[in-house]
Amino acid sequence: MANVLAFAEQRDGQLGSAAREAVSVAARLAEASGGTAHALVLGGPGVSSAAAGLGMYGAAAISVGEHDALADYNPEAWVGTVVDQIRSGDYAAVIFAATTLGKDLAPRVAAHLDVPLASDVTGVDMSGGTVTVTRPVFSGKAFANLEIDASPALVSIRPNVFQATEQAGAGEVSTFTPEIDAAGLRLRVVERKGASEGTVDVAEASVVVSGGRGMKGPEHWDLLEGLRAALGSGAALGASRAVVDAGWRPHGEQVGQTGKTVAPKLYIAVGISGAVQHLAGMRTAKTIVAINRDADAPIFGVADYGIVGDLFDVVPRLTEEVEALKAGD
């Protein structure tokens, strides 16, 4: 019997797909070894009201640590509570989401607990208490199968790769107030610039519309924004490094080796040639569409569907057709 803990990440008091995916993975692993899945949520006062919903994804017990100092993420405030919760639980594995927050938090937890961490995995299993993972290495040019020889095994899962699965059952929520010395924090967030309301980050989006140098200039991005909007609220804009370096788009949108790694359901590459460093960031997308006027562009080598043509003709038409389709749904 082995219990598994999911660290369920909230942002602005909301538990999103990162939390649901982590809990679903924890539930699957726990079930395979006859244990139960627990979830841990940290946040400001009142966050517990959002946490109950995690029961639906298989968390039997949901611990919610509420504190003013946990309302926003600060690793110095968060790490101690996470470590204490893991220590008190005798877990065989702990699942984090490999989001910006998870990638920042999980290694610190691993160091404090003195156990290894497998980051950004695309596959994870547990049998006989041993956790094995598959994770991309060399920017997705190879996959490593690893066995983690420590308990608890710490794992962070790549967003969008694992299915969040609803199941019958409700989790029991218990709220606690961790002790945090807010005055002793050695790092302080002095400014937070949120994205505009309702936008998702490219690394977590289920659909990505990405533009490259073929877009000709920043003034044409309303074309891509139109397509993004037509594809719905889970869609985000991405960019190649060439356009980020040119200052057309912010670095936060860059996809690739020196940008973000994305694994959306749908990736649309518009005017992007498909250099290896770009492919490194998006080759695990489920479906890839390329729009490029050069039939020999390497992007067509990884695209499931391609249109050879001038993006300035193709994109407006695509936006129209998608809008029409969605209007009919």
């Binding site: 479906t287 390329a290 569907y305």
Partner: protein, 249 residues
């Protein structure tokens, strides 16, 4: 102000990766190795800091085999002052690497410990924050640029869908991502000077890996894609395929 930068030697980003006969390693023939791209951003940030302050030493530290000398020399040619090569095995257990580096860094006199946000071979994105935790120093990850003011550094970092400004007490660990400044290329003069700069080589503290590499595989080839058609006229068919075949919209 002294700055330490941890850099790693990895296959060039263009390298074609093939699994070798053992099934747990890569075929290194024909592969060029270089400083991991994010580590180059960290070196650049350290050099700019030193230039602006007009004082201080930039020290590079690597855990690897003797071929990492070349990577350290490149950093010295960019302008770093000295380098330390800890010779030992590099595993896929980032905590083992972090412990080895931490043991060395603990005794070093510096205000800033810079890392790349991730190494371009194992892509773990963990060694920097682990070293922070192990050495008891605060750590900020995903830093695109920072300024030092007295006893603190003001760091700009990217977070999901936005950005943050974080103030951190020094000495601190910062994990650098791509920033506004392209890493400089070493000039001939730098390359000559690097030959005379101190490069200390010593055996690394051993921290056994607790992550066992069972096997390495190449990614499943994506099924051959399909050119749906040319120009805007191909759009209706594309949309139909995305809906009915790929179930993507």
């Amino acid at each position: 102000m002294n700055v330490i930068v941890c850099i790693k030697r990895v296959p060039d980003t263009e390298a074609r990766i093939r699994v070798d006969g053992s099934g747990t390693g890569i075929d290194k023939t024909g592969i060029k190795f270089d400083m991991s791209p994010y580590d180059a951003f960290a070196v650049e940030a350290a050099l700019r800091l030193k230039e602006a302050a007009g004082e201080g030493d930039v020290t590079l530290v690597t855990l690897g085999d003797s071929s990492s000398q070349e990577t350290l020399r490149k950093g010295l040619a960019m302008g770093a002052d000295r380098a330390v090569l800890l010779t030992g095995d590099v595993s896929l257990d980032g905590l083992s690497t972090a412990k080895t580096l931490a043991a060395e860094l603990d005794g070093m006199d510096a205000e800033l410990f810079l890392f790349g946000v991730k190494a371009a071979d194992d892509d773990q994105q963990q060694v920097g924050p682990m070293v922070g935790a192990l050495t008891g120093r605060p750590c900020v990850s995903g830093v695109s640029r920072f300024e030092v003011n007295g006893g603190t550094a003001t760091c700009h970092r990217e977070v999901e869908g936005g950005s943050e400004v974080v103030e951190v007490d020094l000495p601190a660990v910062l994990c650098m991502t791509k920033g506004p400044n392209e890493p400089r290329l070493a000039a001939l003069k730098g390359i000559m000077a690097a030959k005379k700069k101190p490069l200390e080589e010593k055996p690394a503290a051993e921290n056994p890996s607790r992550v066992r590499l069972v096997g390495l595989s190449e990614p499943p080839a994506r099924a051959a894609g399909r050119i749906v058609g040319e120009g805007a006229d191909a759009v209706p068919e594309l949309v139909r395929l995305l809906r009915e075949e790929a179930n993507a919209i």
